[in-house]
């Protein structure tokens, strides 16, 4: 029996999900230790050992763990708080300010008090080095190695911890970057080194530069953290496989993460979409919209066969162009503050009361009304049963905050104001879902919604009503969705090369050789991670565009198309994708298509944990009703008494008709009047639009059959 543990370190809590084959997962949560997050990791494992039946010695327990998958926000936080490493940048003479100028954007156009972000590397340590490669990869001027050596000598005396190298047109020929990298390795062997053509060897100078600088900026911190973590785990007795979550939704060994820290920059929520897919596959679905509502933010993402990926990300206004899951974050969480703008319109967030003092109902002296306060007034949260009764909420404080700040200024009752806050918050979240669906050419109605986070399932029904989504799946593990999702993630390594040419006149043999090389690189990494060849596969994409278009559309292709130089198949796939995304294609015009980038992902399958499956029983869930409470029912614009079910006692096959509440220790689910709810074989609560039982029970494969199938985005290696 294998033992896998997913550990998600958040700002407030560190979440643990313990999975054994064919047993329900065990969930544990402890307070994070921000100064050194690895302390909470080891402490949590010791606590879990003590909670085993019978209790286990911590060292023996640690030794019995096969795999730990770990998600960390060390790099994210360093960037958001501006506490990364002291960096130096070697770049091409004449363009050292590109990093700071950010192509001259001011995100708030009419706000003359909106200032630029502080550059990741100060100007005095951005050094323009003579030496030039042109657009075709020809050297116009040799690299001035002596200038580099003088600079490095200076940096050694200044305590520079990390060096970024990014030269013009290095994507066309990385020779100068390699030469400079050698100088750095020689002169500053202990410095963290980020070389643009190793981080992201593709065209677009600013994207590559910013991504490389970010890598250097967070590198030393991640190195230190992972070293501390592996040492701590080893001394605690753990000898299994440690994997680190990446922003692209895959996992990676700590040795590789150490060397390419930028891969983890937005990895915090990256486990969610894989978890979502796992739960909806129970219903024969291969796609879903996963959301995660936390204290200050709401995250939304889409998976179709696999989580969707983007390459135009941003963190703290710095560009990061590495492939990462397309997860959209907005400032809408439980702590989001309600306010009236200068025109009297009700707004929710993005300002947040955070965890401390938190919402007014936490009774810590806060007086501003939050989403959580509205949920208390509306009856969705039981003040006596918050966090399973571990915390009591002050409903009066919530009412006072809403009355003073929203109700009275708007001339509403407290209940009306709370209902308004709830509806605006849900609308904000629905807009967040639009960002990752409609704006990417995906119709949200075709996919079930996974409302994650402890409070997410209170808002799921209204979000779904807003978007016309008829089906929701609320996992038992909704409150620790990301930690659970990490256990589902495979090893994933992304490679990109720029190879520009019109498809009707392409050197297909050169392209095939390029793909071959990228595949070999992927194999080498997976080999180092002990993944047997049978568990490896690759996903190949070509970034194409109509000739003279500026932005590319990434198209999934089969490797055989390249081997047999099948331009027609690629062009066809490109037209289709362009049509889907932007509503038109220039098929009839026969507009020529050109290739810009080749992207290859090397995937190593890991064993996903099994999950106990129950047989369906009785439909009648009346025995699980623990009380009746008046709550706000949006469909009636009024309060009504609804049954409150004990979620822990609900079993597979039970059916509950909305409006109803289902409470578990860490999650409350509101089933609005438009929905009914049943429990599936995995124990998930499945909410479906009334009368749409047809949406259920479409599971076509058992979990094991499912695992054996080749995922849609990958082809056998």
């Amino acid at each position: 029996m294998t033992l896998k543990i997913g550990i998600d370190v958040g700002g407030t809590f560190t979440d643990f999900v313990v999975a054994r084959d064919d047993e329900p997962p065990f969930i544990h949560k402890i307070l994070s230790t921000p100064a050194d997050p690895s302390i909470a990791v080891v402490e949590g494992l010791a606590q879990i050992a003590a909670l085993q039946c019978p209790p286990m010695d911590p060292a023996r327990f640690a030794a019995s763990i096969d795999t730990i998958v770990h998600g960390t926000t060390v790099t994210t936080n360093a960037t958001l708080t501006g506490t990364g490493a002291a960096c130096g940048l070697l770049t091409t003479e004449g363009v050292r300010d590109a990093l700071e100028m950010r192509r001259g954007i001011r995100e708030r156009q009419y706000d003359n008090r909106y200032t630029n972000v502080r550059p990741l590397v100060p100007r005095s340590r951005r050094i323009g080095v003579p030496g030039r490669i042109d657009r075709d990869g020809h050297e116009l001027a040799p690299l001035d190695v002596a200038a580099i050596e003088r600079t490095l000598a200076q940096w050694r005396t200044e305590g520079v911890e990390a060096v970024a190298i990014c030269f013009m047109n290095a994507y066309a020929d990385p020779a100068h970057e390699r030469l400079a990298a050698e100088c750095v390795r020689r002169a500053m062997p202990d410095a963290y080194l980020a070389v643009s053509t190793e981080v992201l060897p593709s065209i677009r100078f600013y994207d590559r530069l910013s991504t490389t600088a970010l890598d250097a900026y967070v590198g030393p911190k991640l190195e230190r953290y992972l070293d501390a973590l592996t040492a701590r785990l080893a001394s605690a007795g753990f000898g299994g496989l440690l994997l680190v979550m990446q922003s692209n939704g895959g996992v990676i060994s700590p040795q590789l993460a150490r060397a390419r820290a930028a891969l983890t920059l937005l990895s915090g929520p990256a486990g969610g979409p894989s978890a979502g897919l796992f739960y909806v596959r129970e219903h024969g679905r291969d796609g879903c919209i996963t959301t995660d509502m936390g204290g200050t933010s709401f995250e939304a993402s889409v998976a179709i066969g696999a989580p969707l990926v983007k390459t135009d990300g941003e963190i703290a206004r710095h560009r990061i162009a590495l492939p990462m899951l397309d997860i959209h974050t907005i400032g809408a969480g439980g702590g989001s503050i309600g306010w009236l703008d200068a025109g009297g319109l009700l707004r929710m967030g993005p300002a947040s009361a955070g965890a401390d003092p938190g919402p007014a109902c936490y009774g810590r002296g806060a007086t501003l009304p939050t989403t959580t306060d509205a949920n208390v007034v509306l009856g969705y949260l039981d003040p006596q049963y918050f966090a399973g009764g571990r915390m009591t909420l002050d409903a009066e404080a919530a009412r006072r905050a809403i009355d003073a700040n929203i109700a009275r200024p708007m001339g509403l009752t407290v209940e009306q104001a709370a209902a308004g806050m709830y509806r605006v918050a849900c609308n904000n979240m629905a807009q967040g879902v639009r960002e990752v669906t409609i704006k990417r050419g995906v119709d949200p109605r075709e996919f079930p919604l996974i409302p994650g986070g402890g409070a997410g399932p209170i808002h799921g029904c209204l979000i779904c009503t807003e978007l016309g989504i008829p089906l929701q799946v609320v996992p038992r593990e909704a409150s620790v969705l990301c930690a659970f999702g990490m256990l589902m993630c495979e090893l994933r390594h992304d490679f990109v090369r720029t190879f520009v040419g019109r498809l009707d006149a392409l050197r297909w043999d050169v392209l095939a050789a390029l793909v071959h090389d990228m595949r070999a690189e992927g194999d080498a990494l997976l080999e180092a991670e002990r993944i047997p060849p049978a568990s490896r596969r690759v996903a190949l994409r070509l970034d194409c565009r109509y000739v003279k278009q500026y932005h590319e559309v990434s198209v999934a292709v089969a490797p055989e198309w390249i081997e047999r130089a099948d331009a027609g198949a690629v062009v066809q796939a490109f037209h289709d994708e362009h049509q889907r995304l932007y509503g038109y294609a220039l098929r009839a015009e026969g507009a020529p298509v050109e290739l810009v980038n080749v992207r290859l992902q090397a995937i190593g399958a890991t064993r996903a944990p099994g999950h106990a499956r129950a047989a369906a029983g009785d439909r009648d869930a009346r025995a699980t009703v623990k009380s009746v409470r008046a709550v706000y029912v949006p469909e009636r614009d009024a309060y009504a008494p609804v049954p409150v079910h004990d979620g822990h006692r609900m079993r597979c096959g039970h059916v509950v008709s909305g409006p109803a509440l289902i409470e578990q220790q860490t999650t409350a689910i509101f089933v609005s009047e438009a929905f009914d709810c049943t429990v599936d074989a995995l124990g998930s609560f499945v909410l479906y639009a009334k009368g749409r039982e047809d949406l259920l029970g479409r599971r076509e494969h058992s979990a094991h059959e499912r695992d054996a199938r080749v995922p849609a985005e990958g082809l056998p290696a």
């Binding site: 363009v95 590109a98 909106y114 200032t115 630029n116 009306q416 509806r423 038109y584 614009d637």
Partner: protein, 599 residues
Amino acid sequence: MNDTRTIAPHDVAPAQAASGGAVPGGGETGASAIDPVLLSVYARTFRAITDEMSISVQQTTRSPILCEAKDYVTGLYDEAGRMLEQTENLPILAFSLAPVCKHIVQTFADDVHPGDVFFHNDVFTLGNQNNDVAVFKPVFLDDVLVGWTAVKGHQADIGGAVAGGYNPNAVEVWQEALRIPAVKVVERGRLRRDVWNLIFANVRLDIVQHDMKAQMGACAVGERRLVELLRKYGLPSFRAHKQALFDATRRMMEAEIAKIPNGRYSGEGRVYYDGRHEGSRYTIRVDVEVSDRRIRFDYSRTDRQTDGFVNGTYTSSASATILTLLQMVNPDIPHNEGMVEPIDIVIPQGTILNAAYPKATTFGNHLCPPNADAIQRALAPVLPERVTAGWNNLLAALTTGTDPKTGEKYVDIGFMGLKGGSGALPGCDGYDHIGMIDASGGVLDQDYEMFERQTPHLLIRHELLADSAGAGQWRGGLGVETVFRIGSDDTQLVTFGDGDFEGAFGLAGGKDAGLNAIRLALPDGRTVVPRNKDLVSGVPRGTVYRQIASGGGGWGDPRLRDRATLADEVRNGVISRESAMRDYGMRPEELPEAPWTST
């Protein structure tokens, strides 16, 4: 057209009951009652729609002017052409869309049908600039006209005598561009091939056809989303809430105007050289009258129109006025009809800001910086916390030619080179390399490597320029220096702009900034300095192009500037040691140790 117009006519119904019992649980929920919560939902959704349209344009267009620099605007209008929301990547284009939409509604009246698509660029029917070509698409709900979606973008070419559209020798509109008054290119869903072919037979570059298709695609995206919204809430709800939104926004704008003391304030901005007469100079004069909740901009004392192309159109000039005012008020005011209702703008026809038919006007958008100067100078004394010192006035160059490697024609507006600094405010330095005030940081540099792929030029330098900002307790934003080697044999260069005679002005003791400049070093050793509105043909390959887009004006006495910040700036080489001592009064012993970053 008229010479005096209020951009937003007062033809709207009085405010409806905006709050009270019509909310959930409140009892009465009549079809047109205002739900304050639903109002927020509408406002947020309108913005989501125009943002989505904007992404669609950016991702699908080909001209770097559109997809790299984002020189376009997307908008949503009601059935009468009133603005519901806009995404204003380049604001100078933005405030002519609603007037043109109203013009189409009036002109075509009942000849507007589901599936129609209109094109428009004509500056004598409310267009702002010939090259800014708009697509308008009516939106129907069950055969009832309910609104419009529109996208206006700067096209790489639109005919006329000179590729790219900037023709300093033009004296009439026909030498500048193909005029497209409101023209139906798609009727009831069918492309009018004849009209389409007529238009594009007069345009040099094929990519313009594709870019116009991309704009049509974005309009279709917006149409789909507006219809979905209306299906959900119904037409009566939409109409009532739209009006309530206008009213709420108007009240916000009125409250902002009320913060300005009543009175009449005057200011000037200057335009140097009209492209034809050496040494010519024109003055834009504005009298701003604030009276409680209304503000009136009167340009009656402005100089007469030129006989060249340095002339504004009513909507380009009014857009400039609005966008300058928007920088002085709460930046979170929604952009809809209510926002512009309290603003009156008077621009007599025949002035440089509102040229009479058939004058040439391509330069009109670029009269925005001197126009903004005039408004800022007028209001700075009464709104010291809100009005910045002068912004760097635009000086730009457009190069065209043939890439010798690919044999393909290119058109490049050197966005990276033209973006100077903004003016300072008390408590806030200007923004470095933000660019002209008419874009306010919404237009981006080309990516360097894409620049070297799309043109045959080699970039030598693009960096912040030390000492380019006006000194002050709060300094202006820094400008940039751009140098590249020209790689085509048939290069033609068109310059357009100002700021090479007069730097951005300082305020409250802050200093003026430096001057803009463009200079060509020919391979034979000669130097050519084009005038600020000029056409230079036959620039040889190997010529080194050098441009300075200077900084913004400073605010307050430079000697009061924070010493630690100043030392950092000297260390980073954005302020030279000499300037630190001369302009900021830094004593030699205060200077940081040997800055080893050269300036």
